[in-house]
Symmetry: C2
Subunit: 352 residues, 2 copies
C-alpha cells in the first residue's frame, strides 16, 4: 500500500436511498411532498436574471433568515440556514458534540446520526425504543455529551409531546439537546420552539424539503438561542462562507412567505394520511400513530419485503429497511389522493 | 459557565470579505467575473419548472459530472462536485489530511487553509514564500501529512509552471498533493491536469466562481484518480448526500457546455489585465507577474491602505490585507474595460 493511502479517512460509506426516475412511477419512498412549492417560487424564478450569478451570494443569508425569523417570530440572530437539514445537523454535530461522554440518540432513528458521529469521531450510545417504538425519556437522564432525536421520529412517524421533550431538557441542563423536527409540521401539537424561551441549550432543526416542497433546492435551518446560533455560524464560516446560492436564498424566501399555501398543503397531506391509514387497516395492516408525512406499517400476513418487491414491479416505490425490529415494516410517503388510491388498489391485489 | 458551553467547538471565526452592494459601485474586491454566465444558463433557467423542486436532486450529480468529465476529457469517476471550491477543499482536507505529520502550505496564500486545519485539528506548517513572492519548492520536500497550494497563488497571482508542480509531486510520492486551481484558466500555461496520468496522489480543485461567472451559484469541483475521488465521495456522502441543488446541476451543466463563450470571456479578461498592468506601471505601481483575474500591486510612494480608502470613498472596492509582508499591496480584480478605465482615472487623481 502506498503511504498516502493510510491518511485517507475511513468511513462506512452512507448509501443514499434509491432515486428511481420513471415517468409512470408513484414515488412514495423518500418522504417528498406531492405538491409543488408555493406559486411565488416560480414567480421569483421567472424574474431571476442569471447575470447576477457572476457575483457571490450574500454570506449572511439576510433575506432568507429574516423571512424565517418573521415566520417563527424569533429574532434573526436565532436563525441559522444550511444546505438542507443534513448540512445544518452536520454543522451542529461538529459545533456542539465535542465531549468525551457519549451523545445519546435512539437505536431506531434517522440513519445519518451514527454516520456523522463516526465521521467526526464523536462517541455515541444508542438508546432502545420501547416495544411500541416510543422513545423512553428516562434513558436520556444519564451523563452524556449531547442528545439528539427526531420528533416525529423516523422511520416510525411517532411524535412525543412537548412535556416529554421538556422533561428531557429539565434533566439535561448540562447538555445541548437537538430536536430534529423535519416532519413536525405534520404533527398536531407542532414544534417545541416555544421551549426556546426557557432553554438556552435547545436547538430545533427543520427543513424546506418536506412541508415546503423544496427538497430539490436544499434548504434547512436551525432555531436556537443566540449563543448556539453564533457558535454554529462561526463553525460554518470556518468551513464554507458561501453555502447558500443566490437562487436558494431568493426561492427559499418566496416559499416561506406564503403561509396560506403552506398550511393548505399540510392539511391536504394530513387528510390523505388519515384516509390512507383507515384503508391500510381494512387491508390487514397495523400502522404506528403517524404524525408525519409518511406511515410506518406492517401487514398481519404478508412479509413487508414481499409487498415492497411486488409494489416495485408495479413501479410503486416505498421504503423498506433490512434492519432488526423494523424489517417487517414499510415506510410509505403520503402522495396525492389519486396516487394513494392507486397505491391502495395495488395493495389490494398484492395482499389478497 | 454552564457545563454545555465547554463542549462547543472553539474557532477563530473566519470573517468573509466585504460584500458591498451599491448601485453605482465598481466591485473589484472578491475576484468575481465582470461578464455574465454563458447565455445557455439563462435559457435553462427560463425553462426550469419549480414543480420539480419538490423532489430531491440526483445524489450522484450525474449530468454535471459528465459535462465536466467531457470538458476535461477525464472519466466521470475522476470528478467530484461540491458547493463551491471551498466545500470541495474542506471535504478534501477532511478526507486526506489525517496524518500526525503537519500538512504544508505557503505562509502567504488562500486564507482558508489554516482555518480548515484549525477547525479539523490538522497539524500544519506554513512555508515562507521567497522575497519575490514565489513558492520555494524545496520547502515541500520534507516529511509531511499532505501538501496544498493555489496555482496561481492568492493573493499574489503568481503561477508556478508544470515542471515545478511535478518536481513537488516527484518528491512527495507518500503524500496527497492538492493543487487549488481556482484561477488557472487565466494562466497561460494552464492546468496541471495532464499530470494526473502519472500521479495517483494528485488532486486538482477548480471552481465555477471565477472563469465561469457562477460565484452566486456555488459550484466547485475536483479532478483526481478514481481512488481519491471515491474516498472524497464516501466522506461527502457521510456528511450530506444532497449538496447540489437541482438548479446548481442544471445551470452548471449549461455553463460548462459552452466552451466558446468560456474562452471568449477569459481572453477578454486577460487582455484587460495586461492593459491595466501597463497603466498601473505608468502611475508608479509595481505589479507581480499576474496569471489570474486579479493583479497584486504596490505603489512606489503612496501607502496601499491610503489608496484603498481613497478608492472606497469613490465607491471603488479593491482588497487590502492588513498582514505582514503584504500590507503595502492591493489586490485588484479585473473588471470590464470600462470599469478599469474608471478605476485608473480614479487612481490618477489619488496618486498624483
Amino acid at each position: 500500500m502506498k503511504a498516502w493511502k493510510k491518511n485517507i479517512r475511513k468511513v462506512e460509506p452512507y448509501i443514499p436511498g434509491e432515486q428511481p426516475n420513471q415517468s409512470d412511477m408513484i414515488k412514495l419512498n423518500t418522504n417528498e411532498n406531492p405538491y409543488p412549492p408555493a406559486p411565488g417560487v416560480q414567480k421569483v424564478l421567472n424574474e431571476f436574471k442569471t447575470d447576477t450569478l457572476r457575483l457571490y451570494p450574500d454570506p449572511t443569508s439576510k433575506e432568507l433568515i429574516q423571512a424565517i425569523a418573521d415566520f417563527y417570530q424569533v429574532e434573526k440572530e436565532q436563525v441559522f440556514v444550511g444546505v438542507g437539514s443534513d448540512d445544518v445537523l452536520a454543522m451542529a454535530f461538529m459545533t456542539f458534540f465535542n465531549s468525551e461522554d457519549p451523545i445519546l440518540f435512539p437505536d431506531i432513528t434517522y440513519s445519518f446520526y451514527d454516520v456523522w458521529a463516526d465521521l467526526l469521531h464523536i462517541p455515541y450510545e444508542c438508546q432502545p425504543l420501547d416495544e411500541n417504538f416510543h422513545i423512553v425519556k428516562e434513558h436520556y437522564y444519564k451523563k452524556n455529551g449531547g442528545i439528539i432525536f427526531p420528533n416525529p421520529n423516523a422511520p416510525t412517524a411517532i411524535y412525543e409531546n412537548k412535556q416529554f421533550v421538556e422533561d428531557i431538557l429539565q434533566n439535561n441542563q448540562d447538555s445541548i439537546v437537538i430536536i430534529d423536527e423535519a416532519y413536525v409540521d405534520f404533527a398536531s401539537e407542532g414544534s417545541v420552539l416555544p421551549l426556546l424561551e426557557k432553554y438556552e441549550n435547545l436547538l430545533v432543526v427543520q427543513t424546506f424539503s418536506k412541508s415546503r416542497s423544496m427538497a430539490g433546492m436544499r434548504i434547512g435551518f436551525a432555531i436556537g438561542s443566540k449563543r448556539l446560533i453564533q457558535a454554529m455560524s462561526d463553525v460554518r464560516n470556518s468551513f464554507n462562507s458561501y453555502t447558500m446560492s443566490k437562487l436558494a436564498l431568493s426561492l427559499g424566501t418566496a416559499a416561506v412567505k406564503d403561509k396560506k399555501y403552506f398550511e393548505t398543503c399540510i392539511n391536504r397531506i394530513v387528510s390523505t394520511r388519515e384516509k390512507t391509514k383507515s384503508q391500510l387497516k381494512e387491508l390487514g395492516f397495523s400502522c404506528l400513530d403517524s404524525q408525519a408525512n409518511f406511515i410506518f406499517a406492517t401487514h398481519n400476513k404478508k412479509p413487508a419485503k414481499e409487498i415492497f418487491e411486488a409494489l416495485k414491479e408495479r413501479h410503486i416505490y416505498v421504503r423498506y429497511f433490512e434492519k432488526p425490529r423494523i424489517n417487517n415494516y414499510l415506510r410509505i410517503t403520503i402522495g396525492t389522493n389519486e396516487q394513494m388510491e392507486m397505491f391502495i388498489q395495488a395493495l389490494r391485489e398484492i395482499v389478497k
